[in-house]
């Protein structure tokens, strides 16, 4: 039974003349890693900031269903008080959240070892760090809180391949510990290795939220040519597919595809479904398909 710990419903947000969000709905499930996908300007960061309370929604609501939910956050471009050293920022964080010195040092050292973060840097002001190390510092600060939910905007940006692997492992470790991770990322290949849930947003609207491993197990990608004579049947029975001129494309559960085929007589199948390509779904083509064609 999946337990929703945070739910956003009907979020809308306008900046001046730009309607950044129209209708964003999402649910975050305990112990799952949710990947938030969308083009630049689709509204991912705005959604994150509304959830975190940095922006007010014009409409809609965010319900933190788990009481006392501890949230960690790593922005795409972390910034810290320019006049503080790394150790001062971590000390301030530990103090504010009531962490004892031993516990905070333990958590800091663990996270630093996991991310290969050189602790001697903490003696310097954070703004003197490289972008990659500033990002690591943001992870370090969040991990100090032992968050129930870690939200990360572009988790892999500014990181080298070694650090990307480390961050990926960190997410896996958090998930194994029953924590929830919510990442907004353009790096689909990395996201695919991690995703439990996928949410796709386009022009400020949530297109869908799907249990990705289940879909990978049960779903297929279908592409076929010369479908003109059955286009109406396709539209009726498989509205989520896309037909154009003489071809058909879409993601569908294998069972539904078989049901769809069984509803066609052999002549139609022979005449209308030529060169059928069926393959397991991958996140990149799944995202591109939905992003290209679908809008609610």
């Amino acid at each position: 039974m999946s337990e929703v710990i945070l739910r956003a419903k009907g979020l809308a947000k306008r900046f001046g003349h730009v309607q950044a969000l129209h209708q964003v709905d999402l649910e975050l499930i305990r112990g799952k890693l949710t990947v938030f996908l969308g083009e630049n300007g689709a509204g991912k960061t705005t959604t994150l900031k509304i959830i975190l309370g940095f922006l007010f929604p014009d409409a809609g609501s965010v319900d933190k269903i788990q009481p006392g939910l501890r949230i960690g956050y790593v922005p795409e471009l972390p910034a810290f008080f320019p006049w503080l050293k790394g150790e001062e920022i971590l000390g301030l964080t530990a103090g504010l959240f009531g962490l004892g010195e031993t516990e905070s040092k333990k958590r800091r050292d663990e996270a630093a070892a996991f991310l290969s973060f050189d602790l001697s840097q903490l003696k310097r002001r954070v703004r003197t760090y490289s972008h990659g190390n500033q990002k690591k510092m943001a992870y370090l600060q969040s991990m100090l809180l032992d968050p129930d939910l870690l939200m990360v905007d572009e988790p892999f940006s500014a990181l080298d391949p070694v650090a990307i692997k480390q961050v990926r492992d960190l997410f896996i470790r958090l998930r194994e510990a029953g924590k929830t991770v919510f990442i907004s990322s353009h790096l689909i290949s990395e996201a695919e290795k991690l995703a439990d849930q996928v949410i796709i947003i386009k022009q400020g609207r949530t297109l869908l939220q799907v249990d990705w491993p289940e879909f990978v197990q049960k779903g297929i990608y279908v592409r076929a040519r010369r479908v003109g004579s059955i286009e109406k049947i396709i539209r009726d029975r498989w509205p989520e597919s896309q037909t154009s001129d003489d071809w058909l494309e879409g993601f569908i559960l294998r069972r539904e595809w078989e049901e769809f085929l069984s509803g066609l007589n052999d002549d139609l199948k022979e005449a209308a479904l030529k060169d059928v390509e069926i393959r397991p779904p991958d996140l990149e083509s799944f995202f591109l398909f939905w992003n290209r064609y679908r809008s609610r």
């Binding site: 900031k49 008080f81 320019p82 503080l84």
Partner: protein, 250 residues
């Protein structure tokens, strides 16, 4: 009064920022040197008067770029401020900066107080002037804070100083511009308004140069209440604007 953000952390952050603000220390050092020169040249009482008139500027200076740097730098988009509302933190900066500037002012005031005990120059009015100066300091912080929601890089402080420069230039011109100008100067020197027009003139003068409140001329409760009303107005406007503040950095 609780804003939801622990004051000691706000104090810590403000203190660290002040330590980095070199101009504050230059001003402090310059101020002390000027006091010493006054003392040497004109005597203790003049130096004391000079101190009371000018120490509120410590509060103004400490409030330079009170909000904008943090809002624009993105440092408020931090995991800390998911639990501890950044709007409360910004509001509490008024208090923490006021406390820091009060400590700095007290450090300069205490020697004056102690020395006044030696030759018999002590007067209870010193406390009255000092507390009036603290109120002026709060006035500056609240006004600089309100301006600092829009103006960047210390231009909130610069704007106030420029307005005061123009005020004094205007007064200089007024002294040589006939009877009506001289009447205004006389009114400002006496601090005794006759009728609502003169009261309005004095009120405007004090709104632009509140340091006058530290002098005996403007020692009446009415003037102080007017200043207090403006402080509440500025803080109220700040709270209203801060309550609607969003972190829109892209």
């Amino acid at each position: 009064m609780s804003f939801g953000y622990p004051l000691r952390f706000s104090l810590y952050l403000s203190w660290k920022k002040v330590l980095r603000t070199k101009i504050f220390f230059f001003f402090m050092a310059g101020f002390i040197v000027l006091l010493a020169i006054f003392w040497w040249q004109a005597g203790y009482l003049y130096a004391r008067r000079f101190f009371f008139s000018l120490f509120p500027y410590l509060f103004l200076l400490i409030a330079q770029d009170i909000f904008r740097e943090e809002i624009d730098s993105g440092s408020l988009e931090n995991v800390i401020f998911i639990r501890f509302n950044f709007r409360s933190y910004l509001q509490e900066k008024n208090i923490s900066l006021f406390l820091l500037a009060t400590i700095a002012s007290t450090l300069v005031f205490v020697p004056f107080l102690l020395i006044s005990l030696l030759p018999g120059d002590f007067s209870w009015a010193m406390f009255s002037s000092f507390f009036a100066g603290l109120m002026v300091g709060l006035y500056y912080i609240s006004l600089a804070g309100l301006l600092g929601l829009r103006l960047r890089s210390g231009s909130n402080v610069l704007a106030i100083i420029l307005i005061q420069v123009f005020l004094f230039l205007g007064l200089l011109v007024a002294t040589s511009s006939g009877a009506s100008g001289r009447d205004i100067i006389d009114l400002l020197i006496s601090g005794q308004p006759q009728g609502s027009r003169e009261r309005l003139i004095l009120f405007s003068f004090l709104a632009l140069w509140p340091n006058a409140l530290t002098s005996r001329t403007y020692g009446s409760l009415g003037f102080k209440l007017e200043a207090l009303a403006l402080i509440f107005l500025f803080l109220g406007l700040q709270a209203w604007r801060l309550g609607r503040l969003e972190l829109k950095r892209e």
